[in-house]
Symmetry: C2
Amino acid sequence: MVLAQASLQLNLMPLPASVQPGAGQWIIDSSFSVAMTGVQDPMLSAAVDKFVSQLSRETGIPFKRTAAQHGAALTIHAEHKSESTLELGEDESYELTVNPSDAQLTAPNPLGALHGLQTFLQLVEPTPTGFAVPVVTIKDAPRFPWRGMLIDVCRHYMPMDVLRRNVDGMAAVKMNVLHLHLSDNEGFRIESKKFPKLQEDGSNGSYYTQSEMHEFIAYAHDRGIRVVPEFDVPGHSRSWLVGYPELASGSGPYSLVSTVDPVMDPTQEATYKFLDKFIGEMAGLFPDAYFHIGGDEVNGAQWNANPKIQSFIHSHGMKNNQDLQAYFNQRLQKIVSKHHKTMIGWDEVLHPDLPKSILVQSWRGQQSLAAAAKQGYSGLLSYGYYLDLIWPASRHYAVDPLSGDAAALTPEEKSRILGGESCMWAELVTPESIDSRIWPRNAAIAERLWSPQEVQDVGSMYRRLSEVSWHLELVGLTHRSAPTEMLHRMFGSDDIASLRTLADVLEPVKDYARAESIKLPADNSVPLNHLVDAVSPESDVARDFRDLVQSYIQSGYKDHDAVEKIRALLTKWSVNDAKLHPQLEQSFLLKEVEPLSQDLSAVSAAGLAALDYLDKSETSPDAWRTLQLSLMTSAKTPKAEMLLIIVDPVQQLVDASGHVGRTP
Amino acid sequence: MVLAQASLQLNLMPLPASVQPGAGQWIIDSSFSVAMTGVQDPMLSAAVDKFVSQLSRETGIPFKRTAAQHGAALTIHAEHKSESTLELGEDESYELTVNPSDAQLTAPNPLGALHGLQTFLQLVEPTPTGFAVPVVTIKDAPRFPWRGMLIDVCRHYMPMDVLRRNVDGMAAVKMNVLHLHLSDNEGFRIESKKFPKLQEDGSNGSYYTQSEMHEFIAYAHDRGIRVVPEFDVPGHSRSWLVGYPELASGSGPYSLVSTVDPVMDPTQEATYKFLDKFIGEMAGLFPDAYFHIGGDEVNGAQWNANPKIQSFIHSHGMKNNQDLQAYFNQRLQKIVSKHHKTMIGWDEVLHPDLPKSILVQSWRGQQSLAAAAKQGYSGLLSYGYYLDLIWPASRHYAVDPLSGDAAALTPEEKSRILGGESCMWAELVTPESIDSRIWPRNAAIAERLWSPQEVQDVGSMYRRLSEVSWHLELVGLTHRSAPTEMLHRMFGSDDIASLRTLADVLEPVKDYARAESIKLPADNSVPLNHLVDAVSPESDVARDFRDLVQSYIQSGYKDHDAVEKIRALLTKWSVNDAKLHPQLEQSFLLKEVEPLSQDLSAVSAAGLAALDYLDKSETSPDAWRTLQLSLMTSAKTPKAEMLLIIVDPVQQLVDASGHVGRTP
């Protein structure tokens, strides 16, 4: 794909559908101005103001938005006005043409123009002659119309400023749906005026008022982002039942600090009356056409234990709890539909009795998604996009909504797969650490959902990801600055250099390993202030080191540049514990890190010794290697919920030292 | 001073008046709670909420403010309620007693309790057994009642979030007055409803609305900080005259982008009518008892050129322009007083005809301040506290309001010196860089104004300053994070390690050198996006290096620990240019830095060679030293508005190599 190859050179993420590079560049200096032609649109006008102010942040040049003069301008033209509510499937395309002294951005809709402005911002770079944008023609449109992120605000409440800065980050990488997981066992996070005990008894005081939410939805709208609310029923509903125990299938009382996993009672009419009133209220607050009712992981215990419910199942000719949930979902779907919304639910809601208009969000995988599409349901993929699992960006990047079983679908069935959503489940994140769990990895998922399916070069992705990462801090995110402060705090000292050296080669354990090991209390009130909370989900330093070792080995130990860099890193690491160890002892939070610090230095010393053998083309003694490999095995064991990520490449060096030509 | 010695061990800034250390510590964990006894006070209650939330930031433990239980608590007791307006000279004292399992904070007024809470926050540190506060008894009260900072929002407008985070920083170091320089030639920054052309024509659209300011004053009040407005008249007033040229002494029209330095016409009654109405309006908006009228640097050109004004001078028996300004100030003082405010002005307002009730703020020095005090005027020192001069913290720290001429005053005269104010004049700072120009150095000035005069240990100050610095980022300031983003931006790349190495040993040129060299346009609209804008006013790395060199030389070249560290630094620097140089060429903003990068590596190489001579106790050849010293001389020349700060200590090494015993 020739065009994508050209675009790989640019620092764009997501990559555009088509890039036609030209020669030269347009210098962006104080004379820069913006001209708008086409429709007058308040959303676009606000976006241009934000663009100008972000351009100032990206350059340090104090731009004011002024009318274009003397032709030196970015001309923005949108054909149609935007609707007051953003809609799924709106034409989001745009064309951006940069010439040596001006540029044109055209789009059918303001939404496309917003995306084009983000592309323009990413193109601005310092060059030998000034900040500049390369001469280029970009024709761009998203591959999927639904490119979302879920933020769970229940397990840990996230103040509005967290949501706002993340919406800014989403807009920067052209995501367009923020899915707010607003109720779960651990908290009910939005004010209901009709049922005030929901937030009063169910939130510990941490919830969004309706006026805050109203303002926030407008904020997101101005950035081209739809806000889809999720109220998870009938399971995951303990927080509802603290104030309204009569909705439950078992007897209360319920409390936020208990571990009970109750379920609403789908056999009583009162439940539907409550939900009708509640959904009616929320349908007024959230303008989006979609309404998520959760529906996942219904724990059957209360249903099994309630004779009235069991007799309802039998008397209605149902076979089991799944049928009962389907009955509940059918009733719920009618209510949602009555309030002019389209229902979304997780995989489990899928049941032939539900109308094809609903949307299924799959946390189970492409197989489940494909099955739904075959039955005529529309779907979204979230399997593979769970940010809380602390996977490397490359692993998320490899997940495609139309791969696996979905690849075999007919074009019509494929068109039912609307896109996907990354998910930030919040058991183990706080307002302080959440950005570092979302970003920059989320940008790789954003690219998967926006860019052509063929865009798959992992090396290019990582190169561009590291560039987009610091740009995202300029947008207001704190994924880099906040962890630095956390290191200072746990160290209790200003000089964190040696702690940083260690932290830079550690990663948190993966999947649910940490959640299982720390045994979260029901209200998640454990301090998340350990080193594992401050280290990056993915170690850039370790990845670079691994690449160096690869290229050294592949060069037949001849890549001198690589070996020098490898030696410098191993040397730094090998002496780090001597400096760091006494300091670790001073902080109760860091004592647990001592074995990792020892491992880093010991493993690095082994790596240096292996390099010496390789340098001299001398085969290392078997006994020595055996000893080192047992050190490696022990160093690979998770400690303090973290993994030392450089062990594998060092082990490769040790292995390699057993295969070089000459025996000593 | 025994007590101060003990307190030097703690990470407190400013140091308390009295510290009595005890044995042991109180562990701060999730069981921490706060109990309030004494008066119910809304300001104190809000402060306790903020304290609890800041304690969470300082520990990562999710505290909720809950009533004390089981006696494990910080008990806070304030005797009297706070007034709705903060007042100068209020008793700000407090006593804090920390025991092994609880603590008591008592204060006559809520304001003292606020200070005590800040002290408590600074005492919290990670220890081997948990976050803890040492057992200690602190009795504290400020040395001066007026501990202020001026922020100039005219030369560069500072949005409210900049002011808010700086108020938070001030509160953390117990400053209590924010002086807002609200009008100057370059901008009029507050909405007047009576004279709307002031902000409409005089601000380029960047000004505070009255409702924003009202809200901000409440924000500052809740943090124990008074807001004193300054409207600089009759000079420094071009921004007024854009909309109201009839107030000027010369004919208009005036514009924000011209360099004219006009003066109001003090001979026409219309000027006083205008000021009366305006000051009346502002006196209602700003509740503080003080009102600053500027009065500095009146440029006589327009008065000299206006025959009507000259004839007024003669007909009223005045000798010169100074007498005319005194007449203006007298008239103004009556207006300010009529609106129930006490007038403040800069040195120049001092004139025997003015009542003793006014307050004089001295930018000229202790001599001027002492002269005023002798005449019965109260005063504030700002001379020596100009943050925009980019001095090291130690230089500000050495400036005492009661030193120099003021030291010879009688106790009564001394009592008229109420304190001082640091000044952040904003010609060369933006919202992005201002924090890094204020902090952490401002904390050293805060200590000078709060702590006993005997607190003068510079080594201790720097040790504590670096600790308070990262705490201030947890408070919300950006003095460390923002410059990092600026480096990324000018480099256009994620990997800034080698640029950082260089930046860490550079400082901006001092005093007014930069302002003079860049020739600011009248509206200051130049990009402040160069390396000089991102390097710290004071290089910690260079100061540490200088100390290492000192101790190595003083040890008779025997301090092996020092010499190893010196060699490591010099080695790193000596190879830095090879890495950095090709990257500098890629950015127009960094080309100017190339000579500094070369100098760093060349000077470091000379330092390494000198170390070799010293190591071998071999006298270096005279010719070699001559050559190196000419390199040093050239390396000391400012380049790109910056100074390479490591040259002097390297030169000491080179010099020393000429004096060691043995000739080769």
